[in-house]
Symmetry: C2
Subunit: 456 residues, 2 copies
């Protein structure tokens, strides 16, 4: 009993002394980032001087060069490009959706719309037809006999009662991804969806869809919420005709690159810890939160560790992934190469949820590893990370997890504002707050430091 | 041992069953607010149709009527005005600060500036003098012999390394409040301060100051950060003259009102629980976060409890306080009347930290009461309240705490963005996010429900 008591007393003491060293180092990280952090200025540069950078676009190529140069300037041991083929989808013109007839009367009401990513356009020729407005797939199935020759409109909105809006996104995403083909199956000539957002403005939100090859590849676009309501109210009351004109198409796949920087490990140079975000964004915005924030988070982690003279035990990889938005070719390529080279990846961290105040990390790994990270909660809490829960690691590191059983994690910023701007024109630099952005980098650097020091 | 084990098993079980009832009710609060919440629309109305509403102004009178009508429309048992005299400070014109001479050369460089609240202006006549730029009071004291006839500029900025910017505000506030008189003591003719912010823009931030009656009451204004840097760089390098033209003055005190609504308690009608925010704001902005958010939080707590048919045990008071910004006359009056009537106040909750995502509450009360509230952490956590820590209750409920030992609390929203807009032109409706705002009301309503149900 006495021995147990001594053990119980000794363990926290040892832990406390050690934790003190760590808490001092993490405070140094925080002070350095808040005082000299470059993430915000780098984000301004990326968003304002390059802007939207969909994989395959000239802007993406420009961003790749910018990423490489920036990582080099931050003092990585080596920076290189990892080639991968990427899809080359182009919007091709100004998407146009117009209500042309209401209750037998000609009208001309333009709805703010964006073609869905990966959709094929109408070659700039209007597809005009009566609208069948349904609230969900269940209603579509019930009314499948009415679909032929119509434009199907899915008005499936965000459930506002989820405290974390990401849950609503998870639930509605299937309408964007699969809605077009599910309607095409019954003869629809085009599809419109309610944007996946609860925003208080009328910006439409694009995002990736995928056709089922068994059915015609019909045009598909998302409507801003005011116009979504307008169309729903009209089309559920009376006969409404809409014309949809889009120009989207695929050009041949083209060469893209992951941009990779390394800090060589002093003890385990052949064991890798990855930190990353995705360099591509949609074409219609600056990709500031999605995922410019993740890119400059990644750069800031490198910067602060260098600034503090930290020598990692494991080799740290800072990766700007190509093509998360409409293909995941970058993430797949990275894991493929890692596997081919039989690399040992002990951890991979992603930031792809925006530059908002961090609330913690979601952890995709075994229970014992989760418990190990959770034991550091008091070191991270002062910087906002209050929850370290089981969850996914993010799209770009998921191939590592799936194919190599790499433990993965993702920064969890506060989620309330994310879907207001996600994939919309409003995802611009002005909607990122400097301190919130820096705080994300601080939490990421702290976690990388702890995992590098103690292993996982 | 067996008995202890049974007790240990039974206690959590009982707690769990009860907590389940509570967690279901709080979920109802959350669903109702997220689905039908009016806080955001009410805030738009207050900010866009009334706007800035400094105590004593016509807009404040308009806001008082608006507040009373709105509380009535939300179904309070009774709504009344509690009269109190309020100061009537007016800006009186467009504040102007210009660099007029640099290194012996005439120049004309306008700096974006706002007179400090409660300061007296120069009657619209330029006060022109050489600038003595100091970094802090210590430097002022060291150089006190140089002060006479000069304009003192305090360049004391926010310490960016505090994770919670409120700490930096606490530290710098003394320059705004006392800086003018401390310089006037040594013969300064005007004072300029660096705005109390870390904002990435150039908006100056006003806020209350107070003269020491022993010294001349000299003009005082705050500079936006770009211009603060400009002046600092110039005045620490070479001789710089500045002219300060302000118009501020006090008109006679005027009649203002706290707006009070009640839901009568069913069991303890003579025991009061107060929820409030302050209705006044600075004159230069819409007072959206400071403290329109607290006003509509308060209204939403009333609305949701009514909507759910909740019958409080204690009498709930919803208070829109007059004159927090430059006098605290409303808060003082409320506590004074409570004391005079020997009212029993068991708890008072304030929201005056903006409409950002809530992170918890700060609690100003005895340890045992704090422990009681902390025992509810798992009920509040799902809505973002992860910390329930000892702290202050906010300015307007502080007189209740001081004079009547009332336990007080304040909503703690995420603090990163607050001082970017605090007292600046940028504190407008557009800088409030709907879901973040609603989530604040949800947490407040949940806490009020628990305290009403279980006492404190």
């Amino acid at each position: 009993m006495k021995k147990l008591l001594l053990l119980l007393l000794a363990a926290p003491f040892a832990a406390t002394a050690q934790q003190n060293v760590d808490s001092l180092f993490i405070k140094k990280i925080s002070d350095e980032v808040f005082t000299n952090g470059k993430a915000y200025d780098l984000l301004r540069d990326l968003t304002k001087n390059i802007g939207g950078r969909l994989a395959g676009s000239p802007q993406f190529a420009k961003a790749t060069i910018w990423g490489k140069k920036t990582l080099e300037s931050l003092g990585a041991d080596n920076v290189y490009l990892q080639e991968c083929m990427v899809p080359h989808w182009v919007r091709g013109g100004k998407d146009k959706v117009v209500i042309t007839e209401q209750n037998g009367k000609k009208v001309n009401i333009t709805l703010d719309a964006l073609a869905l990513g990966n959709s094929l356009g109408s070659n700039g020729k209007p597809v005009e037809a009566e609208v069948l407005a349904v609230k969900d797939f269940a209603e579509l199935e019930k009314r499948k006999d009415e679909v032929k020759g119509k434009i199907v409109y899915y008005n499936y909105g965000f459930n506002p009662t989820y405290v974390v809006p990401g849950q609503a996104y998870g639930e509605t995403g299937v309408y964007r991804r699969n809605g077009p083909s599910r309607a095409a199956k019954y003869g629809a000539v085009a599809v419109l969806i309610r944007s996946l957002t609860e925003a208080t403005d009328n910006n439409p939100h694009t995002g990736a869809m995928a056709y089922n090859d068994s059915f015609p590849k019909i045009p598909a676009a998302a409507l801003g919420l005011y116009d979504a309501d307008k169309l729903w109210n009209a089309a559920t009351k009376e006969k409404v005709k809409v014309s949809v004109t889009t120009y989207a198409k695929f050009l041949p796949d083209t060469i893209g690159h992951n941009v990779i920087a390394e800090l060589k490990g002093t003890e385990f140079p052949n064991q890798y810890i990855t930190v990353g975000g995705h360099l591509d964004s949609w074409d219609v915005n600056e990709g500031a939160n999605d995922d410019g924030a993740g890119i400059v988070h990644t750069m800031e982690v490198l910067r602060v560790l260098k600034a503090l003279g930290y020598q990692p035990k494991h080799t740290l990889r800072f990766v700007l992934f190509a093509n998360e938005e409409n293909g995941l070719r970058g993430g797949n390529k990275y894991a493929e190469e890692a596997k081919a080279k039989n690399e040992q990846h002990i951890f991979a961290l992603e930031s792809d949820n925006g530059g908002f105040t961090p609330r913690g990390f979601s952890l995709g790994m075994s229970k014992d590893k989760i418990a190990k990270i959770q034991s550091w909660i008091n070191l991270l809490k002062p910087y906002g990370s209050e929850s370290l829960d089981e969850g996914g690691g993010g799209a770009d590191v998921s191939p590592l997890q799936r194919n190599m059983q790499t433990p993965v994690a993702e920064l969890r910023p506060d989620n309330q504002r994310y879907f207001d701007i996600h994939h919309a024109r409003s995802d611009v630099f002005e909607n990122v707050n400097k301190r919130e952005l820096l705080l994300g980098a601080i939490n990421m650097a702290a976690l990388i430091y702890l995992i590098d020091k103690y292993g996982l």
